[in-house]
């Protein structure tokens, strides 16, 4: 004689099989169903129920596999006249996935695009450079300070001065130069900014033509693998003391790459300096 029906070996065996069959269900759902079946057997069977009565009760309950199938959505959900069925939930999940997958794909494409654009190699100084005006080019003094080459010409107070450098687009993207980045040094000789121009065409691969013979404009698009002159003109208005000099070694440009506009720092390869005047001559 056993204390409760579910202590009977036949019932215990059935419940073990049920546990096994319910393994695929969420644990809470499996626990609840096992509790309901156990309570059902305790209600139906007396603790000392004979084997044949227990066998009949277990047969009426249905096999553990069938119960698990019912609980797992084998079709009983059709009996619920309201509320989402498993198929409805699955359909909803599929619909959500149908929406989510394109969103994830688009997000991935956008991210990939941004990474590709933002990691595109900036425009680089490609070697060719010089002072724009002949009167400056003829008075260049080259020096080397701390391993940095410096090219210096006298400042011509309140006169136009300029320089040009060759830049090359090594990236796989067309880069459109829009102007100087605000707040950055634009020239060695003026506090009030400078005029930026980009030569509009390339004559041969890597050769942008004679710099002074080009047409300059802004903005200008530089296709991948092409070279352009970058010209900076300004009116010198910094009254530097005699013997001192002032210069720049880089320019920061606003450049559009694809849909992205970014700042690109073009290292000028050497320092471009203007040497000071006798201060009294500035305002005389």
């Amino acid at each position: 004689m056993t204390k409760t029906a579910h202590d009977h070996p036949l019932v215990r065996s059935y419940l073990r099989d049920l546990d096994e069959a319910l393994r695929g269900l969420p644990p809470a759902q499996a626990r609840e169903l096992r509790e309901q079946i156990t309570a059902h057997l305790d209600d139906e069977l007396a603790p000392d129920a004979p084997d044949d009565e227990i066998t009949a009760a277990l047969r009426r309950l249905g096999s553990p596999a069938d119960l698990a199938a019912e609980a797992g959505g084998a079709g009983i959900q059709a009996a619920a006249p309201a509320g989402p069925s498993r198929q409805a939930i699955a359909r909803r999940r599929r619909r959500r996935l149908a929406v989510l997958i394109p969103v994830v794909l688009v997000a991935g494409l956008v991210t990939g695009y941004l990474v590709a654009v933002l990691t595109a190699q900036p425009l680089v100084y490609n070697g060719g450079a010089g002072w724009w005006y002949p009167q400056d080019a003829s008075r260049v003094v080259y020096s080397n300070a701390d391993g940095v080459t410096q090219t210096t010409v006298p400042m011509r107070w309140r006169q136009r001065q300029g320089l040009f450098v060759q830049v090359y687009n090594y990236s796989g993207w067309t880069q459109t130069v829009l102007g100087f980045a605000p707040g950055t040094a634009q020239s060695p000789g003026s506090l009030y900014g400078a005029q930026l121009g980009i030569s509009v065409r390339e004559y041969a691969h890597g050769w942008p033509g004679v710099p002074t013979a080009q047409r300059y404009a802004l903005p200008v698009s530089i296709p991948p693998g092409q070279s352009r002159w970058l010209r900076v003109l300004w009116t010198s208005d910094i009254c530097e003391t005699s013997g001192a000099s002032i210069g720049i070694d880089q320019l920061t440009l606003v450049v559009r790459v694809g849909w992205i506009t970014r700042h690109e720092v073009v290292a000028l390869g050497e320092g471009w300096f203007l040497s000071g005047n006798n201060q009294s001559s500035c305002y005389s």
């Binding site: 759902q29 609840e32 169903l33 309901q36 079946i37 309570a39 059902h40 305790d42 209600d43 139906e44 009760a57 009426r60 309950l61 249905g62 069938d66 119960l67 019912e70 609980a71 079709g75 009983i76 959900q77 059709a78 009996a79 619920a80 006249p81 309201a82 509320g83 989402p84």
Partner: protein, 117 residues
Amino acid sequence: MTELRRGVLGPCVLALLEVRPRFGLELVRDLSAADGLLTSDGTVYPLLNRLRDAGLVTSQWRDAEGERARRYYSITQAGRASLAEFRDDWAQFAATVGAVLHHDLAQASAAAKGRPR
């Protein structure tokens, strides 16, 4: 037939609970008394859980003196509304199917429109 039985078992459970709350074995016995409704006693429990998840049924433990604690199932307001809707649908559906089965298509058409001839 199995699918049809499954389809009507939920409303039948709601109808029994509409009368009064019942515990699991009670429901099983009442349903078994209606010959042919239950394929196996155990199927009632997953169904009850699904009705509960759908908000049509609630359950609570009752511990009557001298008896062991039992989980009683009750119908909710949403369950009553759902049952009422099913009763209307069922009457019309049964009339339509009955008419088709007896080769009375005119009656079936009228039944489908909710206008018995």
